[in-house]
């Protein structure tokens, strides 16, 4: 459930960014980079800071 909520939050944020500036929703690679950053990179950073 936690993972699902994380992906859902990523989807909401990315949709918001896309509505705000459509230049971010033209390419799959932008979506890929954003998702990897949001669901892998940022949580990993938080875990490291917490330690």
């Amino acid at each position: 459930m936690r993972t699902f909520l994380l992906y859902l939050a990523a989807a909401v944020v990315f949709t918001g960014i896309g509505i705000w500036n459509q230049n971010y929703i033209y390419s799959y690679f932008e979506g890929l980079a954003f998702l990897c950053l949001f669901v892998v990179g940022i949580p990993a950073l938080f875990r490291r800071i917490k330690r």
């Binding site: 509505i19 799959y28 932008e30 979506g31 990897c36």
Partner: protein, 308 residues
Amino acid sequence: MSWAAHDLEPYVIQRHLGRKVAFMPLLFGSYAPDMFTKWFVYGIGVFGYEIRAANPARFHRGWPGVGFTHSLPFGLLVALVIYGVWRKPVIAYSFLIGHWAHSLTDTGDTVGTMLFFPFTTHLFSIGAWAYAGELGRQVDAGAYFSGLGFVWDGVWLVWAALSWKVLTRDYFRTTVLAGDPFYRWAGKTLSERLLLAVYRAAFFYGATRWVAWIVWAHFLQGSALYNGKRYKFKFDLSWGGPHWVHAVEAAQVNAAAANCPCPCCRAARRTLFAYGCVAVLVKVKQFRNRMAACSKAGREILSPPPLE
């Protein structure tokens, strides 16, 4: 052209073919026809200069142009090259399935695709939604998400959502990793969490951009300017619409399509529309059967038979 279908189709294909296909080449094939050419259709600015095709529709789908990237024999040729390099049939035919899915999906608009290039430059088109790539990204997006194109993408979104099991970790471990040499190779160095994000990214991207463009076109922006003319994004779900935009037709792109007497041009639209309706009805029936089975299973779980 389709704005989200090419992102979502691979998941539906994956659901139906399971371990028989490799997901990464399937996805790559689904993107391949537009991968190196789409930017030139809309144009980009470089050091203050705009680089753009003089005739975007002909460049994108026609001949002379790069329309051959949408032909079925071209997909076969690239698949053979892939096979020659990697010597793994699953990579080659997965790419081919993705490529052909893209080529066939793009026949839905008013320009269509040269499915049998180089044997013929004929553009096969169902003409369900308007092709407006020559009017820039924003107007094209507004037109696409106002006509049947966005319904078509919506069908793929729902179909992919119904195939949600392919997005789970268990499915990825048992089926995707087993069938795809790329993920097995990447799994040696990358974490499973990252691989899963990469695997789910196309679904994520397709679904979010579909929502974002609809919200932008119909709830926030409502219109866009191109060359001094303002286009208002009104829903028009009629065949070949929206009609507030000038749709490029196949006959304007390739001379071979003008007054073509072939059975496709004369009757395919009606016939394919009828086939489409039958396919949707079959899918609805299958969905209802599946829901009934789920409901029955749920009832049995909630009210188990009394113990003897």
